[in-house]
């Protein structure tokens, strides 16, 4: 590293540190009590997104960790690289982390993100970015969770429309789950992740 310090920034860049597997024993290192709470319990309009991670044989993956990253309900990020910044949603973390249980299930509590503006026009439909780490994978897998009740926005989403096969596209759209929605409680959603096989989820090259 001392070389780059003495010669200034080099566009060729430094060797980035390689990814390695999270392994089977990450639980004590990565599990947080508040991990699954993108918003605190009791937040108005909060719902759960839950699902199961499956391997190529259709068996649940009990040693995966799922992370989510999303905009707030205004479609903004409390981050210096969002030029608009965030103005509301004080208790909104934007980030969720859930290790799968012995049945391969994960769950996060969140609120629906707003749509995102796209440079050059258009909008991205409300979605969560998702990272999947597990024993057996040497690199992070990246996918997205879209909402089934955002049909209009999904139809013009630049990422969904970049996927030609409707069956593949459908792997990115959650299902409605849990108890029936009421006026004050939105529905929960179910989003299973198939690492491999007939129903393999779409994963992204980022």
């Amino acid at each position: 590293m001392s070389e780059s310090q003495s010669t200034g920034l080099q566009l060729s860049g430094l060797q980035t540190t390689p990814s390695q597997t999270v392994g089977p024993f990450f639980r004590h290192g990565l599990e947080w009590e508040d991990g699954p709470y993108v918003v605190p319990e009791g937040t108005s309009g909060a719902f759960r997104i839950e699902g199961t991670v499956f391997d190529g044989a259709g068996l649940p993956v009990p040693d995966a960790v799922i992370e989510t990253w999303q905009a707030d309900p205004d479609g903004r990020f409390d981050h210096p690289d969002d030029p608009r910044g965030a103005v509301r949603w004080k208790d909104f973390r934007g980030f969720g982390r859930s290790a799968t249980d012995p049945e391969g299930r994960y769950s996060v509590l969140t609120v629906k993100p707003g749509p995102l503006p796209v440079a050059g026009g258009g909008r991205e439909a409300p979605h969560l970015n998702v990272s999947v780490f597990c024993r057996g994978m040497l690199v992070r897998l990246v996918t997205r969770i879209y909402f089934p009740d955002e049909e209009e926005a999904n139809t013009v989403d630049p990422v969904l429309t970049s996927i030609d096969d409707p069956a593949r596209r459908a792997t990115l759209i959650a299902g409605i789950a849990g108890s029936a929605p009421t006026e004050t409680t939105p529905p929960g959603y179910r989003f299973d992740i198939h690492l491999q096989g007939e129903h393999e989820t779409v994963f992204f090259d980022l």
Partner: protein, 240 residues
């Protein structure tokens, strides 16, 4: 109407293991088979969780503390910097580490290695980088441990590191190894990184300068996250 086109991050795929790496047996049934879809980096990809303050306690970067006594094993201090691919320090970013104890045993129900647990060692740490991107952990040299990947398979000693950087795109989970470990040659996880220079970037070096006399051995390890592409808008401005 503002345009949202801040910087993006350069691809660094050749630094990383392939998606499919069957020498690591549990990869076979889990690695996706279909080609990945290109995800252009937009707002949600160039931002990310900025976690740190509030997640880390005063002694969380010293894994030898917090128990009734001292853990067994060789005390070590692992320190270095977190940089982006252009050598800029990544300040204020959360690092999470976890590791086996000196005997190669993890504090985890599923770890069946018949080595003793150490009542004075949990093997979990957290810290935040300072304004120069520096971090430091005090811990115990982890032991190698056997696994069932292939005949007489042993993992080289390693510490797991998890980093966020400042963007979803920079998220990294990796393992830090120790210089000169004779187990490298037979380890399919270490060798899943095909580029020798990239493999070298996972190996901490013994460092006398950070070795504390009569106390602990020093190891240096810098972590490099993805660097940024030049900003298109800035280039346009330059042309004007």
């Amino acid at each position: 109407m503002p345009t949202y086109r801040p910087h993006t991050y350069r691809p660094d795929t050749p630094s990383h293991p392939p998606v499919s790496w069957p020498e690591y047996k549990s990869n076979v049934g889990r690695a996706p088979h279909k080609p990945f879809v290109l995800l252009p980096q937009r707002l949600g990809e160039i931002t990310g969780p900025l976690l740190g303050e509030g997640r880390v306690g005063a002694n969380d970067n010293d894994l030898t503390l917090g128990h009734d006594g001292e853990p067994q094993g060789q005390r070590i201090i692992v320190s270095g910097r977190v940089l982006d691919g252009d050598g800029r320090p990544v300040a204020g970013t959360l690092l999470e580490v976890w590791q086996a104890n000196a005997g190669g045993r993890y504090r985890h129900d599923a770890d069946r290695h018949p080595a003793p647990l150490d009542p004075n060692f949990t093997g979990v740490g957290r810290t935040i980088t300072d304004s120069d991107g520096r971090y430091s952990f005090t811990t115990i040299q982890p032991g190698a441990y056997p696994w069932r990947n292939h005949d007489n398979a042993w993992r080289p000693a390693h510490i797991h590191f998890s980093l966020f950087g400042t963007a979803f795109t920079q998220r990294l989970i990796t393992q830090m190894y120790f210089e000169g470990d004779p187990l490298f040659a037979q380890d399919p996880i270490f060798n899943s990184v095909r580029d020798p220079k990239a493999r070298e970037a996972m190996v901490a070096k013994f460092d006398l300068a950070t070795t504390v006399p009569e106390w602990a051995l020093g190891f240096q390890w810098d972590i490099v996250l993805r660097g940024k592409n030049p900003t298109p808008l800035e280039e346009e401005d330059d042309d004007e």
